[in-house]
């Protein structure tokens, strides 16, 4: 869980509030407990206070009554009652008795009151000799009556009379400073009217309430005020803390965070954070961040430059100054998005240089590079600003048009084709014209499924354009799919891959090559076939895949393995030769000689003929000539296949060690015609016979043809007349 700074502060504030609430509740609980204990103590104290007050009253009143009893004038009154009223009204008050004393009366030793009329609660006569204090209730008032004997000072045993003091209990009980804990009820006692209670039971009869503790009473509002003040102070403190932290810490951190967010969102690529901060540490962070940011910006700019350079290196073809295949693939990822915004649709043009490898091999890489640069420059001239030209393979270019109509794209492609055809590459020393094939495909709908197939359709169109009997520019149409299926068959490609990788699916067919003079089998030409699920794959189909994917050398290697196995099994009759087709790519391969090494073991039983396909330009002709010379020296014979159907056939004858020349079927058929071409070719046959080349005629499918070529001097013939290609077992049979 992640918290924002504001959330954290709020959390701290909330925790502070919660903590204070808990402390407040605890304090409140403690205060309540204290109040309860205090109330209990108050009750006990009030009871004790009442008891003390009763004792005090008894003591004080007793002392006062003692004073009266020992007063000379009291004894005087007992001796002579004549002036008792005067004494009671005039003399008794001079004793300054407390206010709670409602009266004092003297009684004779016989218990009779000296006064003629006695007030409540005095009685005319004392019936009891019990002199202990009593509590009486008369007319709704509670009185404390104390009795004191008056004796002769000279003879303490001589009772002269009794002094009785009546005190208002309610008034007497209240101490001078008032009660601290107790509060008397308006009715002081629970006594019934005219009840008399001995002093020992007075305390139990007093009704009182526990007085609220003034300190607690004062304490309570003080606590509340203090609590309110504390709450207010806490609120102020928390707010101050909140705003303080927000202003001093939160805002700078948020500023820092926002700045980082902007950097993360790439809204900003740098810049410093504002004014100095109040908090020293934060300001240090700010300065450090700014320093770091400044350095990071420098690094970033450097990296940006390097990235751009790297991007250019990664997405740019330095040779042709075009975007490369990586850029093409990157852009292709965005084409779906662009297509939605392009009502005119998306068009893809593929431009392929035919036989570029042959050019490269024949004229060297420099010339090949210049050819590519020329093609790229010519195409670029016909593009508008913003159109992107890619080099997606060594000799293949692509142009993507977004929001360009099909016809417009087709027109641009025609312009490009025309420009290339007019460009002319003779200044590079090329003696042959540079042929290009252009395939155009268009996606009108912009649908993803349609777009995904756009490249394939452009490829189909391009392969269509590569065919010799069609114009070099083809705009994709669905009917091209049938032929394209051959080239792009996944079945054929898979079969090729399996053959190359594991040697599987290869099924060698052997076609006999016979001596024309006596029709004697001279040797077999090994023809590769691929079998998938007991069905043979059309050779044109998988060869197209091999050529397209430039897997000639790899396939040759796989065929070598199969041939060795057949030789080992002895399926080729001893004394019969074996002709092995070798592609130009295999010849220049560094391991070519090594791969042929195992065949040397069979040279003593079979004559082994290496047929170099003439239609394939052999790059590094000198290197190839050296290798073939060494193989020839070791016993291999060299045949130039498809003579007359490729590049510079005569040059090959001149520069390479060739033993056998195989005339292409088209030349053989031409020889049979009485035309200038036929006569020229007949002359050529004569020329080739002169240096001693063995001549093989392909396409000998009738006796007439066989007779013609035999008459012209051909040594061997190959064709349906002389033998169909067959599998090994059938051959031996």
């Amino acid at each position: 869980m992640r918290l924002s700074l504001t959330g954290l502060i709020m959390l701290i504030v909330a925790l502070g509030v919660a903590l204070f609430a808990a402390l407040g509740a605890y304090t409140y609980y403690q205060v309540q407990s204290l109040n309860t204990r205090n109330a209990e103590q108050q009750s006990v104290a009030a009871q004790a206070e009442i008891a003390q007050s009763v004792a005090r009253v008894l003591k004080q009143a007793g002392a006062h009554l003692q004073t009266v009893a020992e007063w000379d004038e009291a004894r005087q009154q007992l001796g002579t009652t004549e002036y008792y009223d005067y004494w009671r009204t005039e003399r008794l008050p001079t004793l300054k008795l407390p206010n709670y004393v409602v009266g004092v009366e003297l009684y004779s030793q016989t218990g009779n009151a000296l006064a003629a009329d006695v007030d409540i609660p005095f009685t005319p006569a004392l019936r009891s000799r019990d002199r202990r204090p009593v509590l009486v209730r008369e007319n709704g008032l509670d009185y404390l009556l104390l009795h004191q004997s008056i004796v002769n000072p000279a003879a303490p045993d001589e009772l002269l009379g009794v002094a009785v003091l009546a005190a208002d209990l309610g008034q007497a009980l209240v101490p001078p400073g008032g009660f601290r804990y107790a509060a008397l009820d308006s009715r002081v006692t629970t006594l019934p009217e005219q009840a008399r209670v001995p002093s020992s039971d007075i305390t139990n009869k007093i009704r009182f309430q526990v007085q609220a503790n003034p300190q607690v009473e004062e304490f309570q509002p003080l606590m509340e005020v203090a609590f309110v003040n504390i709450v207010a102070a806490l609120v102020v403190m928390l707010l101050a803390t909140y705003f303080g932290i927000t202003a001093l810490v939160g805002r700078p951190l948020r500023q820092l965070s926002d700045h980082i967010d902007e950097l993360n969102d790439k809204k900003s690529h740098g810049g410093n954070i504002g004014a100095p901060l109040v908090i020293r540490e934060l300001d240090k962070v700010r300065r450090s961040f700014n320093d770091y940011q400044s350095r990071l910006e420098v690094v970033h700019r450097g990296l940006d430059r390097k990235n751009r350079r790297l991007w250019k290196l990664a997405h740019h073809d330095p040779l042709t100054d075009c975007l490369n295949r990586r850029a093409f693939e990157d852009d292709w990822k965005h084409i779906l998005e662009l297509a939605r915004k392009s009502p005119a649709g998306v068009s893809l043009i593929l431009v392929d240089c035919n036989h570029f490898k042959a050019i490269n091999d024949t004229y060297g890489h420099n010339v090949g590079d210049e050819v590519l640069k020329g093609i790229a420059a010519t195409v670029r001239k016909n593009l508008q600003r913003g159109d992107r030209l890619y080099r997606i393979a060594s000799d293949e270019f692509a142009v993507i048009f977004v929001d360009v109509a099909r016809d417009q794209a087709s027109d641009i492609a025609k312009l490009c084709l025309g420009s290339i055809q007019q460009h002319g590459f003779t200044h590079l020393g090329l003696r042959e014209p540079v042929r290009i094939s252009i395939g155009v495909a268009h996606s009108m709908s912009g649908e993803p499924t349609d777009l995904k197939g756009l490249y394939r359709r452009a490829n189909v169109a391009m392969f269509r354009a590569k065919r010799p009997d069609v114009p070099p520019l083809a705009v994709y149409t669905p009917d091209m799919e049938q032929n394209a299926a051959v080239a792009l068959s996944s079945r054929a490609a898979s079969a090729v891959d399996e053959a190359i990788a594991h040697g599987r699916n290869i099924c060698m067919h052997y076609q006999p090559v016979r001596r024309l003079s006596d029709r004697e089998l001279s040797y077999y030409e090994a023809l590769v076939r691929l079998r998938v699920d007991d069905r043979l794959v059309d050779p044109d189909e998988f060869f197209l895949s091999v050529d397209t994917r430039h897997l000639n050398a790899e396939l040759d290697n796989a065929i070598f393995g199969t041939l060795l196995q057949d030789l080992e099994r002895g399926v080729i009759p001893e004394g019969r030769g074996l002709s092995i087709n070798v592609s130009g790519a295999s010849v220049v391969d560094p391991d070519f000689e090594q791969r042929l090494e195992p065949f040397t073991a069979y040279l003593n039983r079979h004559s082994l003929l290496l047929e170099i396909t003439e239609t394939t330009l052999i790059s590094q002709l000198q290197l190839a000539s050296q290798k073939l010379s060494r193989l020839r020296a070791r016993g291999f014979q060299i045949a130039l296949d498809d003579f007359g159907n490729g590049y510079s056939s005569l040059r090959y004858l001149a520069d390479m060690p060739v033993d056998v020349v195989k005339f292409d079927i088209s030349l053989v058929h031409a020889l049979c015609e009485d035309t200038a071409r036929g006569r020229l070719l007949a002359k050529l046959v004569g020329l080739l016979k002169e240096p001693g080349y063995k001549l093989v005629a392909e396409g000998v499918d009738s006796d007439a043809v066989a007779a013609v070529v035999l008459g012209l001097g051909f040594d061997y013939g190959q064709g349906f007349l002389l033998g169909m290609p067959q599998e090994l077992e059938e051959v031996t049979a």
Binding site: W71, Q76, N152
Partner: protein, 335 residues
């Protein structure tokens, strides 16, 4: 302790007699012999307040010896005894008795009007005299109150009469006589002095040697004395309030008030003139109720007036010593 001559010390300082040539300090008192007795007139030098230097060594030594004797003699007779006296009708009186030594007259000290033996001056005087070895009886007049121990306030009900007081005092004298005291000097404070004089007149006992009146003030003029006499004669019992002696509001039936109020100045001077024994009057020079005229009249009536010039009523300890000196000197003279 004063060693100079500016004042009389409160302790055992010797009595200093002023030289005869100093008429300002000499007061003449004439004791008129009572009928049948030797008339004698004695000029007594009283204790001065201020003493000039150059007094004779003989007199100083005599006074010093007097006080030393008194001091030595006080050791054995200062313990007080409380004695009670039955007066009849359930009444009784109480007194303090200091046995003292038998070589000098016993003193019966009579307190002031309504006071007790515990009165400040009476008590102090009694203790000091007892300490000097003087046999002393200090009764508290009952004033009709059983076991009275406190001064009876003026506003209290006063049922006692003058004659009862005298009778009570007479009982005490008789008590002393019963104790074998053959020479008695009556010392009375203020109105107690007049009561002592009255007792002397009535008792006529040869044991009574002299009467010493301390501050015998002149009574005020009684109001409605005739009416009181009439009311008393009629036996009217209602309480009456009258100024009497030191009381502004004396409460009692008419007979009680009249019994005291009848002792006016003339009656006092008559009693003094008729005194059967020597009467001395010790007065303070600053006692406003004892002005020079009254002192003169006292002297003229036969009392030997002895003046302590700066004293008021002798409650002041500074003058108590002078009073004691005069009393002791009198006792020695009488003894």
């Amino acid at each position: 302790m004063h060693t100079g001559g500016s004042r009389i010390g409160v302790t055992r300082c010797p009595v200093h007699f002023p030289p005869r040539s100093d008429p300002g300090n000499v007061h003449k008192a004439v004791w008129n012999d009572p009928p049948g007795r030797r008339p004698w007139t004695q000029e007594v030098a009283v204790t001065p307040v201020h003493f000039p230097r150059g007094r004779t060594a003989k007199r100083q030594c005599a006074a010093f010896a007097l006080l030393v004797l008194g001091c030595l003699s006080s050791a054995g007779g200062s313990a007080a005894q409380t004695v009670h006296l039955k007066l009849g009708a359930g009444q009784h009186a109480e007194a303090r008795y200091y046995p003292g030594r038998g070589d000098r007259p016993a003193v019966m000290l009579v307190h002031d009007f309504l006071a007790t033996a515990e009165g400040t001056l009476t008590d102090t005087l009694a203790r000091r005299l007892a300490r000097d070895g003087v046999a002393l009886l200090v009764p508290t007049l009952s004033l009709g109150v059983l076991g009275r121990r406190a001064p009876l306030p003026c506003e209290a009900v006063h049922l006692h009469v003058f004659e009862q007081d005298i009778a009570e005092l007479r009982r005490w004298v008789e008590w002393l006589l019963g104790k074998g005291r053959t020479r008695i000097v009556l010392v009375g404070q203020r109105f107690g002095g007049w009561q002592a004089l009255a007792l002397a007149q009535r008792l006529l006992s040869p044991a009574l040697q002299a009467v010493i009146m301390i501050s015998p003030r002149m009574p005020g003029q009684a109001r409605d004395l005739a009416a009181l006499r009439t009311a008393a004669a009629q036996g009217r019992r209602e309480l009456v309030q009258r100024p009497l002696l030191s009381c502004q509001r004396f409460v009692g039936p008419a007979d009680s008030i009249y019994s005291y109020a009848s002792w006016d100045a003339a009656r006092m001077l008559d009693a003094l003139s008729a005194a059967p024994i020597a009467v001395r009057a010790i007065v303070g020079g600053r006692d406003t109720s004892l002005d020079a005229a009254w002192r003169q009249r006292l002297g003229d009536a036969g009392a030997l007036v002895q003046l302590v010039p700066d004293a008021v009523d002798f409650r002041d300890p500074r003058h108590l010593g002078a009073l004691l000196e005069l009393i002791v000197a009198s006792l020695m003279i009488e003894g």
